[in-house]
Subunit: 83 residues, 2 copies
C-alpha cells in the first residue's frame, strides 16, 4: 500500500480529534478548560511542521498540517470571542 | 540547514504545547473542559502517524510522535483518574 494513504488515514483521525473540542466550545460557550496558551504554541509548532512537510514534499503531511492549522485558528477565535 | 533540525524544532514546540494542559489538570484536578474522546481519537491517530514516520524513516517525526503519544497517554490517565 502507498504509505501516503496511511498518512492520509492518520491525518483524517488526528484532525477529526479536534472537532469535538470545537463543538463543545461552540455549544457551551465555555472555554475555561481549554488553554489559549496551548493552542497559540500549537499554532506556531504546526506552522513549522507545515514548512517541514513542504520541504520533504509529503502530500499527506502537507494536507494534515494545513487542516490542523485551520482548526486551531478556529479554536483560538472561539477562545478569544467567548473568553 | 538540515531539514530534520527544523522538524525537531517543530516537534519540541508541538509537544511542549501539551504540557500546560497536563499541568492545569494536575493542579486543578479538574478535567471538565478536556474531552476524553478527543484524546482517545488523538491517541489512535498519532499511533498511525508514528507507523508512517517509521516507514518514511524521518527521525524528527519519529521522536515527535513518540513523545506526543506518551504525553497523550498521561492526559488520558489523568482524565480517567480525576473524572
Amino acid at each position: 500500500m502507498n504509505i501516503e494513504i496511511i498518512g492520509f488515514v492518520a491525518g483524517i483521525i488526528t484532525t477529526a480529534a479536534y472537532l469535538p473540542q470545537v463543538y463543545k466550545i461552540w455549544k457551551t460557550k465555555k472555554t475555561d478548560g481549554v488553554s489559549l496558551f496551548m493552542y497559540l504554541v500549537m499554532f506556531i509548532g504546526i506552522s513549522i511542521w507545515l514548512y517541514y512537510s513542504l520541504i520533504i514534499d509529503r502530500p499527506s503531511l502537507i494536507v494534515a498540517n494545513t487542516i490542523t492549522l485551520l482548526i486551531i485558528s478556529t479554536i483560538i477565535y472561539f477562545k478569544i470571542k467567548f473568553k
